[in-house]
């Protein structure tokens, strides 16, 4: 069995083979493989006995269920109003400089992906970003550099 196949089976065992388990399974795949490949989607469809189109439809609806390969650390910078007012553009510029990629891209070594996202719920402490599940607030370009440096050596 391929790794993906095994993973999907493991997740289906854990969450159950019912429609309600679809999103938890998709979330589990993203956690392990950083994105949902078409192989994963077909496998999930098979395990849950639903059409692959249904799996695809659900997976592509949610912004955290990536269907494109992502890096080990996914950086999501808030682009909504409060963070925009507090200078999220500078933060993005800094990130693009450090990582040498543009918004939407992943570094060559597959370590970082850089994305924009909508309000993260830290509007009083903007600009804010998530690195995977971790929230960082009141960002400045210097602070961003420090944070990324730490992830670089992880």
């Amino acid at each position: 069995m391929t790794e993906t196949k095994e993973l999907v089976k493991k997740l289906a065992d854990k969450h159950g083979r019912v429609r309600e388990s679809l999103i938890p399974i998709l979330q589990g795949v993203v956690q392990e493989e950083r994105y949902i490949s078409s192989e994963a989607m077909t496998e999930i469809a098979r395990e849950l006995d639903i059409s692959a189109a249904k799996v695809y439809g659900t997976a592509t609806f949610y912004s955290f269920l990536d269907t494109q390969p992502r890096g080990k650390y996914v950086i999501r910078v808030c682009r909504t109003i409060s963070c925009a007012m507090k200078g999220k553009n500078l933060i993005i510029q800094e990130l693009e400089d450090i990582l040498k990629i543009k918004i939407g891209e992943t570094t060559q070594n597959r370590k970082f992906s850089l994305l924009e996202t909508n309000c993260l719920g830290w509007c009083h402490k903007g600009p804010a970003m998530l690195v995977n599940d971790e929230a960082y607030t009141e960002l400045t370009p210097e602070k961003v550099r420090e944070i990324i440096n730490e992830y670089m050596i992880k």
Binding site: L22, Y62, S63, F64, L65, I81, S82, N118
Partner: protein
């Protein structure tokens, strides 16, 4: 200026309370009695729509179906709103407690907390708190279990029927209404869905009694409310305030001396310009709000603000119905064209008509409420839209 109405209150954050005692004593009461106390308090849903909480519970309790659910909506995603995060972080037991009281009233054995994906970092601690809660529930011999379900980053899932779709493993697309959740909600079963803050207040009403809550606020807007304050303010953060203040009183307290507009209720709410500060009450008799307050000073372009909101809606529209899917895009393209001079200023009126159409024809609150910010910003800051 008088500030005698802007009262800070503390009903939920620092108040100690014994979960076990409150649940025990409430579980001894008759369901009608519980509903009446809640009704007496005047508590309305704190998500913004303002439906009386007691009635929601009552309608659901009257359904004959043996399977019913209580769902806590912790999918706040409205730009400017971050109060639920604080509540879940600081007083999760009180949220669970509110769910347990509701469960008794409607006779539910299972409850669900739908947590937005952006708050996954809260999960380990919440799971711990939930274990402790289940122990208490067991000790008093009550059969009720709460499960946490994780969202995956979709603003529309805060809409209750979209949230059920998502819980059932589908795209978060709102359903047709009626039927309402009280009749057909999660798994098409009668369901009470309340947001985090509503459940906390429900619980605290059984700690204090309805009277204490009712003494606060105004006839239309009872009690206090948690506000999340951001934008151009020296005091951004989370505050629990008595309802019924005017925008002017609010600005006196939280403005930076140069406030030109306050957006009440987030991107889907209303923009109040300076000249209306005095006469606008924050509450159901004036501008209703889920709690988000964003301040803008005169260094801000309201055109940029509106454009940012429209980008938000364009991206978060579930795409199911045309007025919203196409409308959001066209409104954004429209104001851009006016700004660039490609369209005459009179085009704004056509865009307002489009927003009006969306209000009438969009299927759910997202598409319907785009008109709120669009109208209130375009009307009050027309020059900024053009020049």
């Amino acid at each position: 200026m008088s500030n005698n109405f802007l009262r800070r209150v503390d009903l939920i954050f620092d108040q100690d309370c014994n979960l076990k005692d409150i649940l025990k004593s409430t579980y001894q009461r008759a369901n009608d009695d519980i509903i009446n106390e809640l009704l007496e308090s005047g508590l309305k849903g704190r998500g913004g729509a303002g439906f009386p909480t007691a009635l929601k519970w009552k309608f659901t309790s009257e359904q004959a179906d043996p399977d019913k659910y209580i769902v806590c909506n912790a999918d706040e995603g409205e730009p400017g709103t971050f109060k639920d995060r604080e509540i879940l972080f600081k007083v999760p037991q009180k949220v669970f407690g509110g769910m347990a009281i509701c469960a008794k009233v409607i006779n539910a054995k299972e409850g669900f907390l739908y947590l937005r994906g952006e708050y996954r970092f809260l999960l380990p601690e919440l799971e711990k708190q939930l274990d402790a809660f289940h122990k208490v529930i067991n000790e008093i011999g009550v059969n009720f279990k709460i499960k946490i379900i994780m969202g995956s980053g979709a603003y529309i899932c805060g809409e209750e029927s979209a949230l059920f779709e998502s819980m059932e493993g589908d795209r978060g697309e709102p359903r047709n209404k009626p039927p309402y959740p009280t009749v057909s909600g999660f798994r098409k079963k009668p369901t009470v869905i309340n947001n985090v803050e509503t459940l906390v207040y429900s619980f605290m009403i059984f700690r204090y009694g309805a009277r204490k809550f009712k003494e606060l606020g105004t006839a239309d807007s009872r009690g206090s409310k948690v506000f999340s304050i951001s934008g151009d303010t020296p005091k951004p953060g989370i505050y629990e305030l008595e309802l019924g203040m005017s925008v002017e009183q609010f600005v006196d307290e939280f403005g930076d001396g140069d406030t030109k507009a306050v957006q009440v209720g987030g991107a889907s709410g209303f923009c109040v310009p300076r000249k209306k500060f005095k006469d606008t009450i924050i509450g159901f008799e004036g501008v209703p709000t889920g709690g988000s307050m964003m301040l803008f000073n005169s260094s801000r372009s309201m055109y940029n603000v509106l454009k940012n909101y429209l980008e938000f809606f364009e991206e978060e529209s579930c795409g199911q119905c045309t007025p919203c899917r196409v409308g959001c895009q066209q409104l954004k393209l429209g104001i851009e064209a006016v700004k660039k001079g490609e369209r005459h200023a009179a085009y704004l009126e056509q865009l307002q008509k489009l927003a009006q159409t969306m209000k009438i024809t969009a299927k759910c609150g997202l598409g319907q409420s785009v008109a709120n910010s669009f109208f209130s910003i375009v009307e009050n800051f027309k020059e900024e839209m053009i020049y």
